[in-house]
Symmetry: C2
Subunit: 219 residues, 2 copies
Protein backbone atom coordinates (compact mmCIF):
# COMPACT_ATOMS: atom_id res chain seq x y z
CA UNK A 1 0.00 0.00 0.00
CA UNK A 2 1.49 3.28 -1.10
CA UNK A 3 0.40 6.58 0.28
CA UNK A 4 1.74 10.00 -0.43
CA UNK A 5 1.04 11.48 2.98
CA UNK A 6 2.54 10.17 6.18
CA UNK A 7 -0.83 10.60 7.84
CA UNK A 8 -4.28 10.24 6.33
CA UNK A 9 -7.08 12.05 8.15
CA UNK A 10 -10.48 10.38 7.96
CA UNK A 11 -13.55 12.14 9.33
CA UNK A 12 -16.14 9.52 8.72
CA UNK A 13 -16.21 6.25 10.60
CA UNK A 14 -17.78 4.49 7.64
CA UNK A 15 -14.97 5.65 5.39
CA UNK A 16 -12.42 4.48 7.93
CA UNK A 17 -14.21 1.14 7.88
CA UNK A 18 -14.06 0.86 4.09
CA UNK A 19 -10.43 1.86 3.89
CA UNK A 20 -9.16 -0.55 6.47
CA UNK A 21 -11.42 -3.60 6.59
CA UNK A 22 -9.27 -5.59 4.23
CA UNK A 23 -6.35 -5.06 6.56
CA UNK A 24 -8.38 -6.27 9.51
CA UNK A 25 -9.33 -9.35 7.51
CA UNK A 26 -5.74 -10.38 7.09
CA UNK A 27 -4.15 -9.01 10.26
CA UNK A 28 -2.48 -11.43 12.62
CA UNK A 29 -1.89 -9.05 15.44
CA UNK A 30 -4.27 -6.34 16.71
CA UNK A 31 -3.57 -4.01 19.59
CA UNK A 32 -6.15 -1.52 20.88
CA UNK A 33 -6.49 1.11 23.54
CA UNK A 34 -10.04 2.17 24.40
CA UNK A 35 -11.41 4.70 26.87
CA UNK A 36 -14.85 3.21 27.11
CA UNK A 37 -16.52 -0.08 26.62
CA UNK A 38 -17.86 0.61 23.18
CA UNK A 39 -14.86 2.12 21.45
CA UNK A 40 -13.59 -0.49 18.96
CA UNK A 41 -16.33 -2.68 20.38
CA UNK A 42 -16.04 -6.40 19.91
CA UNK A 43 -19.35 -6.54 18.07
CA UNK A 44 -20.59 -2.98 18.19
CA UNK A 45 -21.57 -1.77 14.76
CA UNK A 46 -20.46 -0.22 12.56
CA UNK A 47 -16.86 -0.69 13.54
CA UNK A 48 -16.40 -4.10 15.05
CA UNK A 49 -12.82 -5.14 14.63
CA UNK A 50 -13.55 -8.73 15.48
CA UNK A 51 -16.43 -9.02 13.04
CA UNK A 52 -14.07 -7.72 10.40
CA UNK A 53 -11.35 -10.20 11.15
CA UNK A 54 -13.71 -13.08 11.84
CA UNK A 55 -11.48 -13.85 14.75
CA UNK A 56 -13.69 -16.61 16.01
CA UNK A 57 -12.57 -18.96 13.27
CA UNK A 58 -8.94 -17.96 13.07
CA UNK A 59 -6.46 -19.14 15.65
CA UNK A 60 -3.44 -17.33 14.33
CA UNK A 61 -4.58 -13.92 15.57
CA UNK A 62 -3.39 -12.20 18.68
CA UNK A 63 -5.69 -9.51 20.08
CA UNK A 64 -4.73 -7.22 22.94
CA UNK A 65 -6.90 -4.50 24.43
CA UNK A 66 -6.23 -1.91 27.11
CA UNK A 67 -9.17 -0.26 28.81
CA UNK A 68 -9.13 2.81 30.97
CA UNK A 69 -9.75 1.96 34.62
CA UNK A 70 -13.03 3.81 35.00
CA UNK A 71 -14.69 1.39 32.58
CA UNK A 72 -14.47 -1.16 35.38
CA UNK A 73 -16.58 0.98 37.70
CA UNK A 74 -19.57 -0.02 35.60
CA UNK A 75 -20.92 -3.10 37.37
CA UNK A 76 -21.77 -4.89 34.12
CA UNK A 77 -18.64 -3.98 32.23
CA UNK A 78 -16.27 -6.22 34.11
CA UNK A 79 -18.29 -9.35 33.46
CA UNK A 80 -18.91 -8.36 29.85
CA UNK A 81 -15.21 -7.77 29.22
CA UNK A 82 -14.23 -11.09 30.77
CA UNK A 83 -16.80 -12.86 28.61
CA UNK A 84 -15.59 -11.24 25.39
CA UNK A 85 -11.95 -11.83 26.32
CA UNK A 86 -12.65 -15.55 26.71
CA UNK A 87 -14.87 -15.72 23.63
CA UNK A 88 -12.20 -14.19 21.40
CA UNK A 89 -9.15 -15.50 23.15
CA UNK A 90 -7.95 -11.94 23.63
CA UNK A 91 -5.77 -10.41 26.29
CA UNK A 92 -7.29 -7.53 28.22
CA UNK A 93 -5.53 -5.15 30.57
CA UNK A 94 -6.60 -2.08 32.51
CA UNK A 95 -4.78 1.18 32.99
CA UNK A 96 -5.40 4.14 35.28
CA UNK A 97 -3.57 6.34 32.78
CA UNK A 98 -5.28 8.31 30.05
CA UNK A 99 -4.51 6.57 26.76
CA UNK A 100 -5.29 7.95 23.35
CA UNK A 101 -7.69 5.59 21.60
CA UNK A 102 -5.59 3.60 19.18
CA UNK A 103 -5.57 0.55 16.96
CA UNK A 104 -2.36 -1.04 15.73
CA UNK A 105 -2.42 -3.69 13.02
CA UNK A 106 0.58 -5.98 12.58
CA UNK A 107 2.96 -3.18 13.52
CA UNK A 108 2.23 -1.84 10.05
CA UNK A 109 -0.76 0.44 10.40
CA UNK A 110 -1.92 2.71 13.21
CA UNK A 111 -5.33 4.33 13.66
CA UNK A 112 -5.43 7.18 16.20
CA UNK A 113 -8.83 8.45 17.24
CA UNK A 114 -9.16 12.19 17.62
CA UNK A 115 -11.00 14.03 20.36
CA UNK A 116 -14.67 13.13 20.32
CA UNK A 117 -15.67 16.01 22.56
CA UNK A 118 -15.66 18.36 19.60
CA UNK A 119 -18.54 16.68 17.83
CA UNK A 120 -17.73 14.38 14.93
CA UNK A 121 -14.57 12.45 15.55
CA UNK A 122 -11.69 12.23 13.16
CA UNK A 123 -9.19 9.43 12.77
CA UNK A 124 -5.55 9.55 11.77
CA UNK A 125 -4.37 6.58 9.72
CA UNK A 126 -0.62 6.17 9.75
CA UNK A 127 1.45 3.74 7.69
CA UNK A 128 4.82 5.44 7.71
CA UNK A 129 7.11 2.87 9.32
CA UNK A 130 8.88 5.16 11.75
CA UNK A 131 5.72 6.69 13.07
CA UNK A 132 4.04 3.31 13.36
CA UNK A 133 7.00 2.04 15.32
CA UNK A 134 6.89 5.07 17.60
CA UNK A 135 3.22 4.64 18.38
CA UNK A 136 3.70 0.91 18.82
CA UNK A 137 6.42 1.38 21.38
CA UNK A 138 4.21 3.80 23.28
CA UNK A 139 1.47 1.21 23.22
CA UNK A 140 3.87 -1.47 24.44
CA UNK A 141 4.92 0.73 27.33
CA UNK A 142 1.28 1.31 28.25
CA UNK A 143 0.63 -2.41 27.91
CA UNK A 144 3.48 -3.32 30.23
CA UNK A 145 2.37 -0.89 32.91
CA UNK A 146 -1.28 -1.90 32.67
CA UNK A 147 -2.84 -4.48 34.98
CA UNK A 148 -4.42 -7.73 33.83
CA UNK A 149 -8.21 -7.52 33.80
CA UNK A 150 -8.71 -10.27 36.38
CA UNK A 151 -6.14 -8.82 38.76
CA UNK A 152 -7.46 -5.30 38.49
CA UNK A 153 -11.02 -6.52 38.83
CA UNK A 154 -10.23 -8.25 42.08
CA UNK A 155 -8.68 -5.08 43.43
CA UNK A 156 -11.50 -2.85 42.36
CA UNK A 157 -14.34 -5.07 43.47
CA UNK A 158 -14.69 -3.36 46.83
CA UNK A 159 -14.45 0.08 45.23
CA UNK A 160 -17.09 -0.89 42.69
CA UNK A 161 -19.34 -2.24 45.42
CA UNK A 162 -19.18 1.04 47.32
CA UNK A 163 -18.95 3.38 44.36
CA UNK A 164 -22.68 3.98 43.88
CA UNK A 165 -23.15 4.97 47.51
CA UNK A 166 -20.00 7.08 47.69
CA UNK A 167 -20.83 8.84 44.45
CA UNK A 168 -24.37 9.42 45.62
CA UNK A 169 -23.15 11.01 48.86
CA UNK A 170 -20.61 13.12 47.00
CA UNK A 171 -23.29 14.10 44.52
CA UNK A 172 -25.48 15.29 47.36
CA UNK A 173 -22.67 17.45 48.71
CA UNK A 174 -22.46 15.49 51.97
CA UNK A 175 -19.24 16.26 53.88
CA UNK A 176 -16.79 13.40 54.49
CA UNK A 177 -17.55 12.95 58.19
CA UNK A 178 -21.29 12.67 57.65
CA UNK A 179 -20.81 10.47 54.59
CA UNK A 180 -18.52 8.15 56.56
CA UNK A 181 -21.16 7.80 59.28
CA UNK A 182 -23.81 7.11 56.66
CA UNK A 183 -21.74 4.21 55.33
CA UNK A 184 -20.68 2.93 58.74
CA UNK A 185 -17.04 3.69 58.06
CA UNK A 186 -14.43 5.82 59.77
CA UNK A 187 -13.67 9.08 58.03
CA UNK A 188 -10.16 7.73 57.26
CA UNK A 189 -11.52 4.70 55.52
CA UNK A 190 -14.16 6.75 53.71
CA UNK A 191 -11.42 9.05 52.46
CA UNK A 192 -9.44 5.98 51.34
CA UNK A 193 -12.41 4.84 49.32
CA UNK A 194 -12.85 8.29 47.80
CA UNK A 195 -9.14 8.38 46.90
CA UNK A 196 -9.36 4.93 45.29
CA UNK A 197 -12.47 5.97 43.38
CA UNK A 198 -10.76 9.13 42.17
CA UNK A 199 -7.81 7.05 41.06
CA UNK A 200 -10.11 4.69 39.14
CA UNK A 201 -11.78 7.70 37.52
CA UNK A 202 -8.42 9.17 36.66
CA UNK A 203 -9.36 12.32 38.57
CA UNK A 204 -6.93 14.64 40.33
CA UNK A 205 -9.58 16.77 42.03
CA UNK A 206 -13.10 16.27 43.22
CA UNK A 207 -14.32 18.58 40.48
CA UNK A 208 -12.75 16.28 37.88
CA UNK A 209 -14.19 13.25 39.65
CA UNK A 210 -17.67 14.81 39.49
CA UNK A 211 -17.35 15.59 35.82
CA UNK A 212 -15.96 12.15 34.98
CA UNK A 213 -18.58 10.33 37.05
CA UNK A 214 -21.34 12.30 35.33
CA UNK A 215 -19.79 11.56 31.94
CA UNK A 216 -19.84 7.85 32.75
CA UNK A 217 -23.41 8.03 33.95
CA UNK A 218 -22.38 7.02 37.46
CA UNK A 219 -23.98 10.04 39.07
Amino acid sequence: MRTVDAVTIVHDEQELFQRTKHLFMTATEIACAANDLWVWAWRHQPYDITALSDVQRRTDMRVRKIYRADVLLDPGASHELAKRRDEFGAQVRVSTEEINETIILDDRLVILAGDSRAGRRSYSVITQAGAVQGVTSLFEAAWRSATDLAVYDAKIAEIRRLAPQVLDLLGQGIKDEAAARALGLSVRTYRRRVAELMDALGAESRFQAGARARELGLV
Copy 2:
Protein backbone atom coordinates in the same frame (compact mmCIF):
# COMPACT_ATOMS: atom_id res chain seq x y z
CA MET B 1 -63.81 18.13 34.51
CA ARG B 2 -64.44 15.32 36.96
CA THR B 3 -61.78 12.91 37.99
CA VAL B 4 -61.89 10.12 40.52
CA ASP B 5 -58.30 10.26 41.60
CA ALA B 6 -56.67 13.30 43.13
CA VAL B 7 -53.63 12.65 41.01
CA THR B 8 -53.39 11.14 37.57
CA ILE B 9 -50.04 9.62 36.67
CA VAL B 10 -49.09 9.79 33.02
CA HIS B 11 -46.00 8.03 31.73
CA ASP B 12 -46.06 9.03 28.15
CA GLU B 13 -45.47 12.58 27.01
CA GLN B 14 -47.70 12.09 24.00
CA GLU B 15 -50.54 10.96 26.23
CA LEU B 16 -50.00 13.96 28.46
CA PHE B 17 -50.19 16.08 25.35
CA GLN B 18 -53.47 14.52 24.24
CA ARG B 19 -55.04 14.81 27.67
CA THR B 20 -54.22 18.43 28.24
CA LYS B 21 -54.00 20.21 24.91
CA HIS B 22 -57.60 21.38 25.02
CA LEU B 23 -56.85 23.03 28.35
CA PHE B 24 -53.83 24.79 26.91
CA MET B 25 -55.95 25.99 24.03
CA THR B 26 -58.32 27.80 26.38
CA ALA B 27 -56.02 28.73 29.24
CA THR B 28 -55.59 32.39 30.09
CA GLU B 29 -52.79 31.96 32.57
CA ILE B 30 -49.83 29.61 32.30
CA ALA B 31 -47.06 29.33 34.84
CA CYS B 32 -44.00 27.09 34.32
CA ALA B 33 -40.84 26.12 36.08
CA ALA B 34 -38.15 24.52 33.93
CA ASN B 35 -34.70 23.22 34.73
CA ASP B 36 -33.31 23.42 31.24
CA LEU B 37 -33.94 25.33 28.12
CA TRP B 38 -35.97 22.67 26.37
CA VAL B 39 -38.35 21.59 29.11
CA TRP B 40 -41.79 22.93 28.17
CA ALA B 41 -39.97 24.51 25.24
CA TRP B 42 -41.65 27.39 23.52
CA ARG B 43 -41.64 25.56 20.23
CA HIS B 44 -39.88 22.31 20.99
CA GLN B 45 -41.90 19.37 19.78
CA PRO B 46 -43.80 17.43 20.87
CA TYR B 47 -44.81 19.46 23.86
CA ASP B 48 -44.80 23.12 23.03
CA ILE B 49 -47.16 24.92 25.32
CA THR B 50 -47.18 28.03 23.18
CA ALA B 51 -47.87 26.17 19.98
CA LEU B 52 -50.81 24.60 21.77
CA SER B 53 -52.20 27.85 22.99
CA ASP B 54 -51.39 29.75 19.85
CA VAL B 55 -50.32 32.51 22.11
CA GLN B 56 -49.05 34.59 19.27
CA ARG B 57 -52.53 35.52 18.25
CA ARG B 58 -54.12 35.79 21.66
CA THR B 59 -53.53 38.80 23.84
CA ASP B 60 -55.51 37.64 26.85
CA MET B 61 -52.92 35.12 27.95
CA ARG B 62 -50.39 35.60 30.68
CA VAL B 63 -47.32 33.36 30.52
CA ARG B 64 -44.72 33.20 33.25
CA LYS B 65 -41.64 31.00 33.25
CA ILE B 66 -38.92 30.38 35.82
CA TYR B 67 -35.63 28.90 34.71
CA ARG B 68 -32.92 27.45 36.84
CA ALA B 69 -29.86 29.70 36.92
CA ASP B 70 -27.43 27.32 35.25
CA VAL B 71 -29.41 27.60 32.01
CA LEU B 72 -27.98 31.08 31.75
CA LEU B 73 -24.41 29.80 31.70
CA ASP B 74 -25.05 28.65 28.16
CA PRO B 75 -23.91 31.60 26.04
CA GLY B 76 -26.73 31.23 23.55
CA ALA B 77 -29.48 30.55 26.02
CA SER B 78 -29.76 34.03 27.42
CA HIS B 79 -30.30 35.62 24.05
CA GLU B 80 -32.68 32.87 23.00
CA LEU B 81 -34.76 33.27 26.14
CA ALA B 82 -34.96 37.04 25.76
CA LYS B 83 -36.07 36.60 22.16
CA ARG B 84 -38.79 34.11 23.05
CA ARG B 85 -39.92 36.23 25.98
CA ASP B 86 -40.44 39.20 23.69
CA GLU B 87 -41.96 37.11 20.93
CA PHE B 88 -44.60 35.67 23.24
CA GLY B 89 -45.00 38.57 25.59
CA ALA B 90 -44.08 36.31 28.48
CA GLN B 91 -42.42 37.05 31.77
CA VAL B 92 -39.22 35.15 32.50
CA ARG B 93 -37.37 34.90 35.79
CA VAL B 94 -34.33 33.01 36.96
CA SER B 95 -33.78 31.17 40.20
CA THR B 96 -30.70 29.64 41.78
CA GLU B 97 -32.94 27.23 43.66
CA GLU B 98 -33.79 23.75 42.45
CA ILE B 99 -37.41 23.84 41.31
CA ASN B 100 -39.47 20.83 40.39
CA GLU B 101 -40.51 21.14 36.77
CA THR B 102 -44.12 22.28 36.82
CA ILE B 103 -46.90 23.71 34.72
CA ILE B 104 -49.90 25.46 36.23
CA LEU B 105 -52.93 26.28 34.09
CA ASP B 106 -55.38 28.91 35.31
CA ASP B 107 -54.89 27.84 38.92
CA ARG B 108 -57.02 24.83 38.00
CA LEU B 109 -54.62 22.18 36.78
CA VAL B 110 -51.08 21.31 37.71
CA ILE B 111 -48.60 19.12 35.86
CA LEU B 112 -45.60 17.98 37.88
CA ALA B 113 -42.76 16.35 36.02
CA GLY B 114 -41.13 13.38 37.70
CA ASP B 115 -37.43 12.61 37.87
CA SER B 116 -36.00 12.13 34.40
CA ARG B 117 -32.80 10.55 35.62
CA ALA B 118 -34.57 7.20 35.98
CA GLY B 119 -35.22 6.73 32.28
CA ARG B 120 -38.70 7.47 31.00
CA ARG B 121 -40.22 10.41 32.78
CA SER B 122 -43.62 10.37 34.40
CA TYR B 123 -46.00 13.26 34.96
CA SER B 124 -48.48 13.88 37.73
CA VAL B 125 -51.63 15.69 36.66
CA ILE B 126 -53.50 17.28 39.54
CA THR B 127 -56.91 18.92 39.48
CA GLN B 128 -57.95 18.64 43.11
CA ALA B 129 -58.48 22.24 44.15
CA GLY B 130 -56.59 22.13 47.44
CA ALA B 131 -53.54 20.49 45.94
CA VAL B 132 -53.56 22.85 42.97
CA GLN B 133 -53.69 25.78 45.34
CA GLY B 134 -50.82 24.37 47.39
CA VAL B 135 -48.59 23.92 44.36
CA THR B 136 -49.59 27.30 43.04
CA SER B 137 -48.57 29.02 46.24
CA LEU B 138 -45.22 27.26 46.13
CA PHE B 139 -44.78 28.46 42.59
CA GLU B 140 -45.73 31.99 43.59
CA ALA B 141 -43.13 31.92 46.35
CA ALA B 142 -40.50 30.72 43.90
CA TRP B 143 -41.61 33.37 41.42
CA ARG B 144 -41.30 36.13 43.99
CA SER B 145 -37.81 35.10 45.03
CA ALA B 146 -36.62 34.63 41.46
CA THR B 147 -34.79 37.34 39.57
CA ASP B 148 -35.98 38.92 36.35
CA LEU B 149 -34.16 37.52 33.32
CA ALA B 150 -32.66 40.84 32.29
CA VAL B 151 -31.45 41.64 35.77
CA TYR B 152 -29.99 38.21 36.34
CA ASP B 153 -28.41 38.23 32.92
CA ALA B 154 -26.61 41.48 33.61
CA LYS B 155 -25.26 40.05 36.84
CA ILE B 156 -24.12 36.80 35.32
CA ALA B 157 -22.56 38.25 32.20
CA GLU B 158 -19.11 38.39 33.74
CA ILE B 159 -19.49 34.90 35.17
CA ARG B 160 -20.61 33.60 31.80
CA ARG B 161 -17.71 35.31 30.07
CA LEU B 162 -15.22 33.62 32.38
CA ALA B 163 -17.06 30.35 32.86
CA PRO B 164 -15.49 28.45 29.96
CA GLN B 165 -11.97 29.25 31.11
CA VAL B 166 -12.67 28.65 34.80
CA LEU B 167 -14.41 25.37 34.05
CA ASP B 168 -11.58 24.33 31.77
CA LEU B 169 -9.01 24.99 34.48
CA LEU B 170 -11.11 23.18 37.08
CA GLY B 171 -11.57 20.34 34.63
CA GLN B 172 -7.82 20.03 34.24
CA GLY B 173 -7.37 19.83 38.01
CA ILE B 174 -5.42 23.09 38.18
CA LYS B 175 -5.11 24.43 41.74
CA ASP B 176 -6.66 27.80 42.54
CA GLU B 177 -3.39 29.73 42.73
CA ALA B 178 -2.15 28.50 39.38
CA ALA B 179 -5.57 28.96 37.80
CA ALA B 180 -5.72 32.54 39.11
CA ARG B 181 -2.34 33.27 37.56
CA ALA B 182 -3.46 31.71 34.29
CA LEU B 183 -6.41 34.11 34.17
CA GLY B 184 -4.48 37.12 35.39
CA LEU B 185 -6.56 37.38 38.55
CA SER B 186 -5.74 37.30 42.25
CA VAL B 187 -6.53 34.06 43.98
CA ARG B 188 -9.25 35.88 45.97
CA THR B 189 -10.97 37.06 42.84
CA TYR B 190 -10.60 33.68 41.14
CA ARG B 191 -12.19 32.08 44.19
CA ARG B 192 -14.99 34.66 43.98
CA ARG B 193 -15.63 33.63 40.40
CA VAL B 194 -15.62 29.94 41.31
CA ALA B 195 -18.09 30.64 44.12
CA GLU B 196 -20.35 32.58 41.77
CA LEU B 197 -20.15 29.81 39.18
CA MET B 198 -20.97 27.19 41.80
CA ASP B 199 -23.93 29.29 42.88
CA ALA B 200 -25.15 29.55 39.28
CA LEU B 201 -24.75 25.79 38.90
CA GLY B 202 -26.63 25.24 42.13
CA ALA B 203 -23.66 23.28 43.47
CA GLU B 204 -22.67 23.00 47.11
CA SER B 205 -19.35 21.29 46.49
CA ARG B 206 -16.83 21.17 43.71
CA PHE B 207 -17.77 17.56 43.05
CA GLN B 208 -21.37 18.66 42.45
CA ALA B 209 -20.16 21.53 40.30
CA GLY B 210 -18.14 19.12 38.17
CA ALA B 211 -21.07 16.77 37.74
CA ARG B 212 -23.48 19.59 36.95
CA ALA B 213 -21.10 21.26 34.51
CA ARG B 214 -20.58 17.94 32.72
CA GLU B 215 -24.33 17.35 32.63
CA LEU B 216 -24.80 20.76 31.00
CA GLY B 217 -22.04 20.07 28.51
CA LEU B 218 -19.97 22.92 29.88
CA VAL B 219 -16.95 20.76 30.52
